[in-house]
Point group: C2
Chain length 209, copies 2
DNA sequence: GACAAACTGAACGCAGCCGTTCAATTAAAC
DNA sequence: GTTTAATTGAACGGCTGCGTTCAGTTTGTC
């Protein structure tokens, strides 16, 4: 087999055009949904002919998958937690909670989750790709942080994975639900929820003196 | 004005047909989504002609609203909590958590939430109708339970609304997310999550002796 | 420079579906 | 029995959109 078969005679596929197509597809798919998006409009927005879209992706589903992959890729970088901070655990939890909330409550993210969840009903692997790129990564990073804090004695967390879920879930609370279903934002309430989550968490997992 | 104007001459609208239409519409809309559902198939499934559907509902959006209203109506009964049980608070919390989980993790409910969230992007009032019929009612009922337990001294809950959110959110945890995005079910994990939620909650809100 | 393949613009076939119209039938109210 | 209106089945117009085809042009590789 020729190595990855990238060398062929003739004009190669234009990767800049490909990127433009996927970008336009993401805009359309996650704003309007899969069914309501049209290849013709995506091609026009990308400044490309419809035939080129089919030449690159074959059909609408493959283009959708590429758009999902692109968004998931954008997500993957966002879940690192600094293990060696000088601040105390309480303050760091507060910061982490606020960062998570800021990341998740962006309208684009809310909208993206809505669309992915809907398409998951027809194509489960779409949902799993999202889970692995986003929530599970986040839980793993935060769980590692908690395990680290356990070894240093700053916290006492017997089950870091489950504790991570508890904290993240409390930070999201009903605000997550309300955003997903179109309720107007309430930043004060969101902030309060995070503070109380830290309170409860510290009360439960502070090391026994 | 004639009282509700129900009495007119001629043949009245067939309410049984109406019900069959809405039932078929619910099946289609929440299984396939609004765009992917066709009036023709809904009419066929309801054993009714397409003209009758238009005669009852006018257009597709109105039929969708009727289907949402029907599902919300079915939800409204499910959120009562018995205030006068003899069991201790811990056991009752466990039962409540398990009931909530059983109600929310049904595949039809997961699917319904997916579709409503997606349609909320286009029609916010759809999402708000759902919020009011479901989650907010549930929070209100559980919050009232906590407030009651506070007055009897079984718990010490300064902010019942927020505490209700914390408990419900921990019970849902990541299981909610995983279900929505198509991960296979994990009943053991779900059960553990609820038990640990009760643990944390009792630790935080047990009355000071 | 020759060749191969990507790109374009336009047109096409095909399918699905919304919402309407119409004549004929059925069923309830008076 | 008469009247009023719901129901039906079929057909239609109009639109949108997927995916294909084709001739012609551009842009790379050999």
């Amino acid at each position: 087999m020729a190595e990855t078969a990238t060398k062929r005679a003739g004009r190669p596929l234009d990767t800049a055009k490909r990127d433009a197509i996927v970008a336009a597809a993401s805009d359309a798919f996650f704003e309007l949904g899969f069914a309501a998006s049209s290849i013709e409009k995506i091609a026009a927005d990308a400044g490309v002919s419809k035939v080129t879209v089919y030449n690159h992706f074959g059909d609408k589903s493959a283009l959708f998958s590429a758009a999902v992959e692109r968004e998931c890729e954008k997500m993957r970088g966002h879940f690192s937690i600094d293990m060696s901070s000088s601040a105390n655990v309480r303050d760091r939890l507060l910061t982490i909670g606020q960062s998570m909330h800021a990341f998740l409550s962006r309208p684009e993210m809310v909208q993206f989750e809505r669309r992915i969840a809907a398409e998951t009903a027809d194509e489960p692997q779409i949902g799993l790709a999202f889970l692995n790129a986003g929530p599970r990564r986040m839980r793993a990073a935060f769980s590692a942080f908690l395990a680290h804090a356990d070894t240093t004695g700053e916290l006492s967390v017997p089950d870091p994975d489950l504790a991570a879920e508890q904290f993240a879930s409390m930070c999201k609370g009903f605000g997550d639900l309300e955003r997903r279903f179109g309720a107007p934002p309430d930043p004060d309430r969101d902030a309060l929820r995070i503070e109380r989550a830290v309170d409860l968490f510290m009360q439960a997992y502070a090391p026994a003196k």
